[in-house]
Amino acid sequence: MTLPNDRETLDQLLELYDPVEPISAERLALLVEKIETRLSGDIQNNPTETWKSRPRVPWNDAAFARWPAAALVFLLLGFGAGQWLTPHRALTKTEVNQTITKYALFQSPWQKWFD
C-alpha cells in the first residue's frame, strides 16, 4: 500500500474513504419489505390502531370484554337499590328464638355438652 501525501489530513481521509458503501437496491427492497411485514404484524397486535379491521376473537377483543364488566356493575347497582327500597322491621322475640333454635340444631354434640 502506498503512503498518501504527507499533507493528507485526517479530515480528508475520513471524507475520502467512507467505510460504508452505499446500500444496494436489493438490500433496500428487502429492508423495506421487512419493515412493512413488521408493520402489518404490529397493527394486527395493537388494538388501538385498527381494531375494527382485525378478526374478532372474543377473548382478545376489548369491546367483548366490556360486557361482563357492565353486567357486574348493573347487578351490583340493582342489589344496592333493592336493599335500599325494601322496607325493614325489627324481628320479634319469637322470630329471634326460632332462629337460635334452628341454628342450634347444627351445633356439635360437644358444644351442647359444654353449654
Partner: protein, 193 residues
C-alpha cells in the same frame, strides 16, 4: 384516509401527515428516501450489516407510531428525528451487545492484477472502519455524526444529550486516537500528528 397523488414530489412533512392518516404508500416513499442514509449511519456506528438493519427497522416502526403526533417544522426535521432515533438505538444495542472488532476486514478485498487501485481504496475503507470501531462508542458516534452526517456540534449535542463543549472534547479525543491508529497502520504520515 387522505391520499397524496404524486408521492415523489411531496415534502417529507406532507408524507408524514399522510402516514398519520394510515397511508402505507406515503410510508413506503419515506422509507425509500431515508432508509439508505439511516442504514449507513447505523452501520458506521455499529460496524455490522445485520445490526444496522435491525436498528433501522425499529426506527421506522417508531416513525409510524409517532406520525400522528408529528408537528411539521421543516424539511430537515424528519431526517434529524430519524437520525436521533437511530443513534440512540445504536447506543442501546451496543451497550447490550458490543460487536466484535473487524479484524478480518483486511482480507475481504480481492488483490488481483488490474484491480490494484480498487483494492487499495477498499483496503483503506476497511482499515478506516476498523479504526473507527476501535474508538469508544461515544467518540465514534460523535465522529460519524460530525463527518458523515455533516451535523454541527450543537445538533450532535442535542442528539447525544451532551453539552456542545463535551461533544467538542469527544471529537478532539477521537481525532487524536484515529490519527494514532492510522499512523500505526501506515495509512497516514506521522507528521500529521
Amino acid at each position: 384516509m387522505a391520499c397524496i397523488d404524486d408521492l415523489a414530489l411531496s415534502s417529507d412533512d406532507a408524507l408524514v401527515l399522510a402516514v398519520a392518516q394510515g397511508d402505507r404508500r406515503a410510508f413506503r416513499e419515506l422509507m425509500l428516501r431515508h432508509v439508505p442514509g439511516m442504514v449507513a449511519l447505523a452501520q458506521r456506528i455499529l460496524g455490522s450489516h445485520g445490526d444496522a438493519d435491525d436498528v433501522v427497522q425499529e426506527a421506522f416502526l417508531r416513525l409510524w407510531k409517532h406520525a400522528p403526533h408529528w408537528a411539521p417544522a421543516g424539511e430537515a426535521e424528519i431526517r434529524t428525528w430519524l437520525g436521533r432515533v437511530v443513534t440512540n438505538l445504536c447506543i442501546d444495542l451496543w451497550r447490550k451487545k458490543p460487536s466484535l472488532p473487524l479484524d478480518h476486514a483486511m482480507h475481504i478485498a480481492d488483490p488481483s492484477k488490474g484491480a490494484a487501485e480498487r483494492w487499495q481504496d477498499s483496503n483503506r475503507r476497511h482499515l478506516l472502519q476498523r479504526c473507527l470501531q476501535r474508538l469508544p462508542l461515544r467518540q465514534r458516534t460523535a465522529v460519524v455524526l460530525s463527518y458523515y452526517e455533516g451535523l454541527a456540534g450543537i445538533e450532535i449535542a442535542k442528539i447525544m444529550d451532551l453539552s456542545p463543549a463535551a461533544v467538542e472534547s469527544l471529537l478532539v479525543r477521537a481525532r487524536r486516537a484515529l490519527r494514532r491508529d492510522l499512523v500505526s497502520l501506515n495509512i497516514m504520515a506521522g507528521s500529521d500528528l
